[in-house]
């Protein structure tokens, strides 16, 4: 490594600085910067790869395994629930990616560099949210589409496959992208609130995957409604052709509830972000 002991002098002495002709912060630039950030770390590649592999692989595996039983109608389960079955596990990767977008800035201390470059915090959060949403929307839709194709391949062999133009199947292809994108933003909000990767992952998984099932144990209408409204439960129906649990909210209603909950969490996180010291 060469180590020059002096700097080459700048071409011209720094003139008094005026704003004219100087670049300004714009939202487009923040988007470009956040896009550069997300594509230049390995954790993004790893989480997106596991999102795809888990979702498609596990879907194919289960469909291969249960297609026979489903055809005999001895499984007693809705066939449509299986063609995106792997997403139940793959979605964890979307949650983690969202969390990392915020929490990795704190664990590395990079948040101070980010905010020195772009001191207004709401636009920074908006840029992060936009980039994350776009990435997961595209990759999520691709993932759920490929998962459906893979799962359906095995169901087709038993004669119980879906038509790919079935409106519920088409809705699920797009819905997988929408659901995973909102789940990622949910993680982002959580990561920004907690500023700690492991903590946010634990809370996120507990909230979406464990508490969502536990509230069903509360007796009566309270338990029923809590089950319907828990973020994970409300959102998932959009990303399945048919849900295992027939009592959940309809796909679009459920997704609306989930998106609303996520927006609320994001607002709280953003409000704290704008007030707290970096």
């Amino acid at each position: 490594m060469t180590t020059p002991t002096t700097l080459s002098p700048p071409a011209a002495a720094p003139a008094p600085r005026a704003d004219v002709g100087r670049p300004r912060l714009t939202f487009g630039r923040l988007l470009d910067a956040e896009w550069t950030k997300i594509r230049t770390v390995r954790s993004t590649v790893w989480t997106l790869a596991s999102l795809f592999v888990l979702s498609v692989g596990l879907t194919a595996l289960i469909c291969w395994g249960v297609a026979g039983e489903l055809a005999d109608d001895t499984a007693g389960e809705p066939v449509g629930a299986f063609v995106t079955w792997g997403l139940m596990f793959g979605q964890i990767a979307a949650l983690v990616l969202g969390i990392l977008v915020a929490s990795a800035e704190y664990s590395s201390g990079m948040i101070r560099t980010t905010l020195a470059a772009a001191p207004r915090r709401w636009p920074v959060l908006a840029a992060k949210t936009t980039v994350l949403t776009a990435v997961l929307l595209v990759l999520g839709a691709i993932t759920s589409t490929v998962a459906i194709l893979a799962g359906n391949f095995f169901l087709d062999r038993e004669g119980i496959g879906f038509s790919l133009t079935d409106p519920d199947v088409l809705r699920t292809m797009v819905g997988g992208g929408l659901y995973l994108a909102v789940l990622g933003v949910f993680g982002l909000a959580l990561g920004l609130l907690m500023r700690h990767t492991a903590g946010a992952v634990t809370v996120g998984i507990a909230l979406i995957f464990i508490v969502g099932n536990l509230v069903g144990l509360i007796p009566g209408a309270t338990g029923e409604w809590l089950t319907k409204l828990m973020p994970g439960n409300a959102g998932t129906t959009l990303a399945t052709v048919e849900s295992f649990n027939p009592d959940l909210l309809g796909p679009w209603t459920g997704f609306g509830v989930f998106a609303g909950e996520t927006a609320l969490l994001l607002l709280v996180a953003g409000w704290l972000f704008s007030r707290r010291d970096a």
């Binding site: 100087r22 670049p23 770390v41 020195a116 001191p119």
Partner: protein
């Protein structure tokens, strides 16, 4: 130009920075000197808009940091903790940073060359040594060719070569007319780099002075002389009008004279000398006297230092 007015930061009931006023001017290195916990880093974070002041205000070029239209073009900073994601390459770190403020790609290559990181620019920064990490932080600070630069303890943990490099860099940035604000807890370091001195202790400004004034006031040298005929020598020296003090071991401390003059006086009287030396009062001592009452964490000398510390 950085201007703070009644700038205050409280954490709970602890006041880290207590209504301080100061101005950091262009074309000079302003040293921000204070013991551990004095409030240097907190002040710098407030300048950068990272911490919100509890009171007062601070502006850069007349504006609050958050109102700067393109901050990296006006301010560059190397803050205390490393602020880089170790999983990203040096080049990509500078690239996303450049993009926020519309800085062209070629400037990224340029600053990498300036700090001498060409060979490792495509390596992930997590594996960098302390010195390389510091250079990357400096490259980031220089990215927008800013007129105002902040360095928080830039030489901490560096080897002598790295220290000299940063010292030269800081001096050359000020020589180009930029505003340079550098914190340290070492007076000796400041004496070598700073033109102006801002001393902070327990969140209050204790001194705001030109470095040369501070040195002139605090580093008056004296001559130490020891003789078996101390009484006679003291008399002879007093006749010349120099102030004489006696050191603990009986040696004489002569203010206002050179060692040659003292030696000549002794020689002309035929007196024996066992010791003759010039003693420079250290700036470090002057700094410690200044901040003695405001040191945050006094070492307890009545207790043994635990092993491994």
């Amino acid at each position: 130009m950085i201007t703070a007015e009644r700038l205050t930061k409280r954490y709970g009931d602890k006041t880290a920075v207590d209504a301080i006023d100061f101005t950091v001017r262009p074309g000079a290195v302003t040293g921000f000197l204070g013991p551990n916990g004095a409030g240097k880093s907190t002040t710098m974070r407030m300048v950068m808009g990272l911490d919100h002041p509890s009171g007062g205000r601070v502006t850069v070029n007349g504006r609050a940091y958050r109102d700067l239209p393109a901050p990296l073009h006006e301010v560059g900073a190397l803050l205390e903790a490393k602020a880089i994601h170790g999983g990203r390459t040096a080049y990509n770190h500078l690239l996303w940073l450049a993009k926020t403020n519309g800085i062209p790609r070629r400037r990224v290559d340029e600053v990498i060359g300036m700090v001498g990181l060409d060979a490792v620019a495509r390596k992930r920064s997590g594996g960098f040594s302390l010195g390389m990490g510091q250079r990357l932080g400096i490259a980031a600070a220089l990215l927008g060719d800013p007129g105002v630069l902040l360095f928080d303890e830039p030489v901490n943990g560096l080897d002598p070569e790295g220290i000299r490099w940063i010292r030269n860099l800081i001096r050359s940035l000020a020589a180009e007319g930029r505003t340079v604000f550098v914190s340290s807890h070492l007076m000796s370091e400041m004496a070598l780099t700073a033109d102006h001195l801002l001393v902070i202790g327990r969140g209050a400004i204790l001194a705001d002075t030109d470095m040369s004034d501070f040195i002139a006031r605090n580093s008056a040298a004296h001559v130490r002389v020891r003789s078996p005929q101390g009484g006679v020598l003291a008399e002879a020296l007093r006749e010349r009008g120099w102030a004489i003090r006696r050191d603990d071991d009986g040696a004489l401390l002569v203010d206002g004279a050179t060692s040659e003059q003292v030696g000549d006086v002794a020689g002309s009287r035929g007196l024996y000398l066992h010791e003759l030396s010039v003693v420079n009062a250290s700036l470090e001592e002057a700094f410690m006297r200044l901040t003695a009452d405001s040191v945050e964490y006094h070492a307890r000398t009545d207790q043994p230092v635990p092993a491994g510390v």
